[in-house]
Structure formats: C-alpha cells, structure tokens
Symmetry: C2
C-alpha cells in the first residue's frame, strides 16, 4: 500500500531530504569535490538511486536480488565503493554515525506524504510504522561493511 | 518532561523489552552461558543498567560524562568488554545488526507509556519524537567501536 501512496510523490520526498542535506554543510560536503563545491551530476545520480531505494522498499519483494542490492548500496557508502560508480573525487566514505542518525529524519518526514491520499489516521499510522521498520532494516543491512565480522 | 513521565514506569518498560528478548531464542542466547541456559544474574545486572540508560537519557545533561558512559555501553556490546563487567561466559558480542534493529521496538513500545500521564495527544507525540531521536542518537554512539575509523 505504501508503494501506491508514495509512488507519485517520490520526487517531493527527495526534495525534502535533499533540502535537509543541502542546508547542513557537514552533510553536503560528502557530495563535494576537492574544491569544496557540490558536484551536481553526482548529487543527481545519487538522487535517482535514492528514489529507486524508496520504490524498491515499498514495491519489491525483499528477495535475494533486493538483499544483494542493499549490500551494493552499503558498499557505496564506504571506502570500498563510494565515488567509483560515479567517477567522482568526493570524500571517500559516509561515516556510519550519519547513516544510523538518518533513520530519524528519513522516517519522521514521510508521515505527511503518507497522509496525502485520503487514508484514515489509523492506516497512515500503520503505513508509517511499516516505513519506520523498513528504514531501520535498510540501515541495519547497510551497516554490514562497517562492522566486518562484528556485524 | 519524558523523565517525569517515564520515571516511575521504567520497570514496566523493561518488562516489555525483556519479554520481547525472552520470546526470541536468537536474542536471549546472548545472555546465555556455554550450556545454553540464560544467566539470571547477568540478565538482572544488564537490566539495571538498561534502566539507568533510560533515566539518563530522559533526565541527565548530555555532557562529556554522559558521552563517555555511552562509549562504555558501546564497548560492552562488543568483544572489547561484553561479559567482563559481569564475569560471565556468554557470547562475546552483540552483532551490530541487532543493535541497529532495536531502534524500532525500543521506540515503538514507549508511546503507550508516554500516554499514561494525562498529556494531550500532541504532547505525547512530541515526547515520542524526542524519544525516537534520543534512541537513534544512542545507537549512533554505540555503533562507534564496530566501525573503527569508518564511524
């Protein structure tokens, strides 16, 4: 259900999240080159994948292919693969503390979007709880390469 | 405010969380000795510290001493210090994925307790959001020893 509800709002959701990142210099720097300027093409490519993550989380079965792609996303936050897929020279990893901390804004900001399609308060709450669980699961999966055998 | 509200309910909150752990063999095993039986004294000592974490999170300033204690809690989840404070021979670490995943139940289960003291729906929501942020912050801090320089 959350897929039907968020599907046509994904760009608006991304606007909120990108606005949040853009307004915090300590976050936007992970998208910046050696000169300190944000790399627009990199921001755009990551944004497209971020949107795909939302759609996949809502619509796809969480099967082996989905799980494998979460591992790819995880690696692209770390020194193993960040920057390579996009051929950029931004900082070489997203610190794990930011990945974990993002659970809060990525969850809290979605409720208003879930409430846009005329569902009852109770249905919106249920979708929001499902979203919160799904975000937490994603971050648990993305934490794998940071922790090695302690994962 | 959440401190006044949760203060006399901490044992009830812990009953819920311990019930959750106890009902999942893949979780309770981290409190079990080599024979596979949960170690009651260990469970009790961890429970007391878990309650202290709740009270500290609600009532204390998040100063250097608080931050240092979060690092101690973090280490006690890992091979560096788990079991030592309590002189037990349980599994030597809590995998990071469980620490991250716990953000969900530790957040979701607290709303009903926050609603017990006659506050408005809006005040309960505000306290619940503050609690969610505080739990997420705690887990971000506890993830430090797992990630080393990638934290």
């Amino acid at each position: 259900m959350a897929g039907d509800v968020l599907g046509d709002q994904v760009e608006d959701v991304l606007d909120v999240w990108y606005g949040f990142v853009a307004s915090h210099p300590h976050l936007v720097r992970y998208f910046a080159g050696p000169d300190g300027a944000p790399i627009d093409a990199y921001l755009a490519r990551v944004r497209a994948r971020f949107g795909q993550w939302v759609r996949d989380l809502c619509e796809r079965p969480w099967d082996r292919a989905w799980l494998d792609y979460q591992e790819e996303i995880a690696l692209r936050h770390t020194g193993a693969k960040k920057n390579r897929a996009d051929g950029v020279h931004a900082p070489e990893r997203i610190p794990l503390r930011y990945v974990v901390a993002f659970i809060y804004p990525i969850t809290a900001t979605v409720r208003d979007f879930l409430a846009q399609k005329g569902h009852s308060e109770q249905e919106v709450d249920a979708m929001h709880q499902a979203w919160f669980k799904a975000v937490t699961l994603s971050v648990a999966l993305w934490s794998r390469p940071y922790a090695g055998e302690e994962w």
